[in-house]
């Protein structure tokens, strides 16, 4: 599927055997287009740059002028945000929770999608629609009962509880995406594996899973972003537990009214934004491909 974007169609959009003369109309359109896109790019990027710049200023400097450069570039705000405000601990919690949940959901989701896509058995359709239901209902509806489900299991306000809930809510998307992927893999290969004496387990882990790598990578990226950015689930069922990044950030911003340290707040936001942004810039080609795969087409 990835070939679709980088395949022959795209080439024919970009490949030009000769350079035709550029007309004035084209120049005007080109200039207008570039202007419009540049304006939007500035709207996107200026707030981010301003946030990074402000993260080096003291509160009084921030109030004095929104544009003035910080009088000295030091990492005081970052140290404050990282240790005093607990952003460091929350960052690590987030990394652990998201990493564990991501691994579990990818394995379980791939297994479930594989079974649903490659075997017909009574009820397989029903399970498929059950997964669909989980995608269409708003998470909000589940929060109140979920609170008590976890409470009864003793998992309320714990990271393992959070991980399990993350897995549950990321599962339907994972299964859907991989369902169509496993469906499209050729049947001959499973049969060849069976003839060679591979059991069901072995066929999956040594034959099918490696073949599904491109699909797995795309889903993993979306799941990562979704879980890393998750806010509602942690504030509902982990309110008193070890906080994850989005929670800590909200708590930090919430108490700002009393202990104003805007420099540290900007530093906290920067710490949250920059790592993911860097990862995105590195993997952006892969991601642009997945967007087209992941939605409707």
């Amino acid at each position: 599927m990835t070939t679709k974007v980088s395949g022959p169609e795209m080439k024919s959009l970009h490949f030009q055997p000769r350079t035709p003369a550029t007309t004035t109309g084209d120049k005007v359109v080109g200039a207008v287009s570039h202007t419009a896109l540049t304006v939007w790019t500035l709207i996107v990027i200026l707030p981010l740059l301003w946030t990074v710049m402000s993260s080096f200023k003291t509160s009084s400097e921030i109030f004095a002028s929104p544009f003035a450069l910080p009088s000295q570039w030091n990492l005081d705000n970052y140290t404050k945000a990282w240790s005093e405000a607990g952003i460091g601990q929350a960052f690590l919690n987030s990394v652990v929770v998201v990493a564990v949940a991501l691994v579990i959901v990818m394995v379980l989701g791939a297994m479930c999608a594989y079974v649903l896509a490659r075997y017909t058995f009574p009820g397989s359709r029903a399970i498929y629609y059950l997964m669909l239901a989980g995608l269409t209902f708003p998470i909000f509806l589940a929060m109140v009962p979920l609170f008590f489900v976890l409470k009864n299991m003793g998992l309320l306000n714990t990271l393992p509880g959070l991980i399990l809930v993350y897995v549950g809510f990321a599962l339907p998307f994972t299964v859907f995406f991989l369902f169509s992927f496993f469906k499209s893999l050729p049947h001959e290969i499973t049969e060849a594996a069976a003839l060679d004496g591979a059991g069901e387990w072995r066929t999956f882990f040594q034959v099918m899973l490696p073949m599904a790598k491109p699909g797995l990578a795309s889903v993993a990226i979306f799941n990562f972003l979704g879980l890393w950015n998750q806010f509602l689930i942690p504030v509902s069922i982990n309110a008193a537990g070890p906080r994850v990044l989005s929670q800590e950030l909200a708590a930090f911003a919430g108490q700002m009214g009393y202990a104003v340290d805007f420099g540290a707040l900007f530093a906290a936001v920067t710490v949250t934004v920059v790592p993911v942004l860097i990862v995105y810039v590195i993997f952006q080609r892969q991601l642009q491909g997945s967007v087209s795969q992941g939605t409707s087409k």
Binding site: I127, A142, V167, Q284, V291
Partner: protein
Amino acid sequence: MTVVKTKQSRNDDGLAAVVPVMAPPQLVVKRRRKPLTWDKVSFFAVFLGLPLAIYLLFVIWPFIQAFGYSLTDWSGFSPNQNFIGLENYAKIFTDDIFMKAMGNNVLLVIFLPIITIILSLVLASLVTVGGSSKGQIKGLRNSSFYRVVSFFPYTIPAIAIGIMWGQIYDPSGGLLNGMLTGLGMDQFKDFAWLGNKDTAMIATMFVIVWGFVGFYMVLFVAGIKGIPAELFEAARIDGAGRFRTAVSITIPLIRDNIQTAYIYMGILALDAFVYMAALNSGGGPDNSTLVMAQQLFFTAFSKGQFGLASAMGVVLAIATLIFSGLVFLVNRLTGGDKDVSL
């Protein structure tokens, strides 16, 4: 070309929104029933049983319970739950604050998807067909830079976006008022964008649009690139200008993507909890940015009225379903389906 719509996926349109279109039906080789082996039994138990158990326990069961709770007066921490029928729903629909919140959600649902989609469609069209009108159809030079940068906000946690814009809108030290006064518009000195009931909602909507335009732009760019170049060329030979091409070729052919985008944005607009919580946690001046989800959260976790909160959740879920149904209906009535199958 790539829009392989099978008859089956057309019947259950609910799928099309969230699911990549299924591969064309494969030839399933009928095998003779083999005896059950340990390999097979353990395989099914783990591969199907484990994910399903987690899913049922943490997703489906709470959803079902929510409907049950919504019919009780349960306060969460007392053991007694009295069945009170639809009383909670009656209470919700006579509660002025909740109705105000619902009105705000309706405003969001009307404006957010349209603004986001139009803006991202325009940007996507500029990137893909903004190039020369002679010879091969081509995109704008160096346009991948715009595409990469526009996608940035999608990678930022919503709560961070909210906090960041809260600072940008800050009346005295914020970037926005700094820029406006810098341009000589002194009336904006100390203007509280989020503290004024006429501007709070618009300012909030802008933040959400800012966060999603890039994502949908990338989605639409991919959709437009999936259209065979011959179609554009044919239109051009027939004398269609850029605008005409965009309206008559591009939009009908990426209609499915637009519908998906519309539904995603609508569902987001019905929720919008994170943005509202970050920008105006109390509901804004005169409750002008209060949304249903905030009211639900407050009712459940601050006031402890879990029965009432569950009823609010059900209302929210039904609103979501009605919205998705409407989008499908409108798309169907305007002839969406026949246009997309090339």
